[in-house]
Symmetry: D2
Subunit: 252 residues, 4 copies
């Protein structure tokens, strides 16, 4: 992270995390207690005792930021966010359009990938989502990278020649035409959908629109536990969503 | 991608890819045939016919680069590479140390994450691996971002205050002490290992060294196929490796 | 197995299996060579050398029988066959109706579950499948347990008050009405389908027909390999089919 | 099921099940309320209203029995129980030895497979487990099929020439010698263990003892949900245990 540290993460022994703003004097944090936040950034990498309990003080990673986000709805987590950003080839300086800001979790993952010189333009029709997303993204330090438009993305994308369009919409296929116009030649399309039917309809529409390399995938994340013996965790998230990818071809 | 395009990818209808250098005149490509490579970059996003077959011409993505790498041994693929880069919080400008360059596949994923202003320093003891990795990384356009050292990483890391250390070694636990010294406070440690025993020993050693937030995970990637009906692909890679993460704490 | 042994299995060091009829004199087996088959049943549990290679001689298990079946089409393997037989509560003496005999693999699993006193009645419209299925089932020793009808199951099931109806049909929902009439109160319905759409349509039709406890599931089988280290196998079957279960209720 | 029905299952709209003894007059069932149990078996396949709520009345299946068992500890569920019984080739009339009765869940699955003419002999050292297992098995109607021995199985198995030995022990490798003596030639060994280390040690010991066809596997069960769209369930059991199989060879 290249920016000044404005927050730290407190991590307890059981893996629970709290994000704490730095330099805001004495604060009471629910579940932790009262602590001095001035100079907390100098404790990064050290242990801190608050109310008789010990916490590791960490610099917030993009994963920490996503995991501790204020949620308005189901979010796209680090597993899928990392995959989407990488498989749309996003790097520093790129421009990516996001359709459906949700709570801003994916916005953060995308912003992280294109920061500090790139740009995420996020379209969202629901003002309540927009407020939450904007606050979350700013809190994560990506306020300069991400830009929000209160607009229905299916009605048009203002940007042109963008590197990638990433959709988290109930009906992503309704945004293919506008995505196509916004994308640079061979630019990356991606879509995230919880159900098989959404995935299917998106794939069929992408083929119809002559996108190249249309493919769909889901990721399963399996934690391993190391105690007296080693084994996969009993707890596991059974499903998040299907990710569909394609590359924009210039129509003949 | 911000650099000038030096290669394109040809993609056939069955999903097979060829990376073709641009501006090298008439070339014969095995499996494709003879084609003119001058001006190929202007065909990106269009179809190209060679020898009666049609190809999509694409700008190489980091995924394309990894998938078409010259392999000296088993590589860390895009699925795990993306996860490792993201979960070690790598972004533009960061410095990351890699232990074990292998064929350079992970080096490319890491370089992609920190480019153009960051740096990957890759330690590798085998000169033959080093040659392959360096060639692959240069071909992928990350020659300026990645730096190679023909050195046993367990003998010491020259860099200090790095954002992350990522290991692909048979015995990652032998490099924990040097990783600890190289990492900035709360910096990210990651390790990739095919077997449960390697994962376990790494986890136990990390706990011993008082790293924080030690956890292990594996990712399963499941392709979906959309034909007359929709279903997961019959073909699937059953296992790649376990990824272990931790954050460096400053010893008391 | 309670019957006289009519076949043995030869297993080589790499896990390949051959089923060999017993008491048929000198035989040449492709991939093995020439061997005497008289008295082979007395070698069960011992090693046998043929042509300089060593084989374990085993009594054929139901799994061996299914894995070495003559295939006319994709079969339902031991993983799903075992699950279907168990979750339809089949035991010795039960009657089960099968819709779609295929190559007889599932017929064998079902026959194994209800043998020796129960009965599998298998409906199949394609005479070529019927011939293969009947031969496979007889070879497996279940000729007396299974009974075949060259008939379209959607046109009617002759049996009444059966314990279970198990379907492997492209459109299982077309057979729900006849299944309902054949099943005893609270009897078990099961269906096997490769695609999500087939699964869905079956589930919706079962709800429509007021079946109770309608549920769908898929099973993933992951082999573990134990060498210098332990890990899941790289090779894995990514998908077989969805299994849908329900219990027949007597309409109000 | 060939026995007289002594219990029914009540199933509510949310999938919760209660096993209700039949013919015991007016009973109060926690979570259901008061109901008459005389003649309940004649309501099988019908709906029943109790206290304003509707239940489906079902004949208990082996899966119902296992799912509603009184648990003393973690049980082996229907998924793994079905797989173990099938892959040890158990059928009516077979004798199987079980090492570690636990709460009797696996005992029920095995008894179901060999009933009514076969036999499960279950060894268990802990008297408290034995009491629970015996009660559960009797309640499930397999009191005549299963037989319990309060004995350490590693100290010896009385039975000879059994079809299968199935172990659910912390250290299954300590029982290999006695298993070998009890098994018929080419008989089936199986073991269930939660951790990779237990699985590994069992596999190595089986190889050492020259068992044939030694293999290990885990099963993942993924429920599918059919609502407005279709998708895998968000809830999923991440791990149960590894199953290891082998066939007994007669030592040279």
């Amino acid at each position: 992270m290249s920016f000044a540290m404005r927050e730290v993460v407190l991590l307890n022994a059981r893996g629970k995390k709290w994000r704490i703003p730095v330099g805001e004097g004495l604060r009471t944090v629910r579940g932790v207690g009262q602590l001095k936040t001035d100079g907390l950034e100098r404790l990064v990498g050290h242990s801190l005792e608050v109310g008789g309990r010990t916490y590791a003080v960490l610099e917030p990673s993009v994963r920490d930021q996503i995991e501790t986000i204020h949620r308005k709805a189901q979010i796209i987590g680090p597993k899928d966010g990392a995959y989407l950003a990488f498989h749309t080839d996003l790097g520093a300086g790129d421009t990516v359009v996001e359709g459906g800001a949700g709570s801003g979790a994916l916005t953060i993952a995308l912003a992280h990938a294109v920061a500090p010189t790139g740009r995420v333009v996020s379209y969202e029709i629901r003002p309540d989502f927009l407020d939450v997303a904007r606050a979350n993204v700013e809190e994560a330090g990506y306020g300069d990278v991400a830009q929000f438009r209160e607009k229905d993305i299916t009605q048009g994308i203002e940007e042109r020649d963008v590197q990638a369009v990433v959709l988290d919409l109930p009906e992503p296929w309704t945004a293919l035409q506008v995505a196509k116009r916004a994308l640079q030649p061979s630019g990356h399309f991606a879509s995230y959908s919880p159900t098989v039917e959404q995935m299917r309809e998106t794939v069929l529409a992408l083929r119809e629109e002559a996108f190249a390399e249309v493919w769909s995938v889901e990721l399963l994340e399996r934690r391993m536990e190391v105690g007296r013996g080693s084994r996969p965790a009993f707890q596991m998230l059974g499903h998040t969503g299907y990710m569909t990818f394609a590359r924009r071809m210039v129509s003949a």
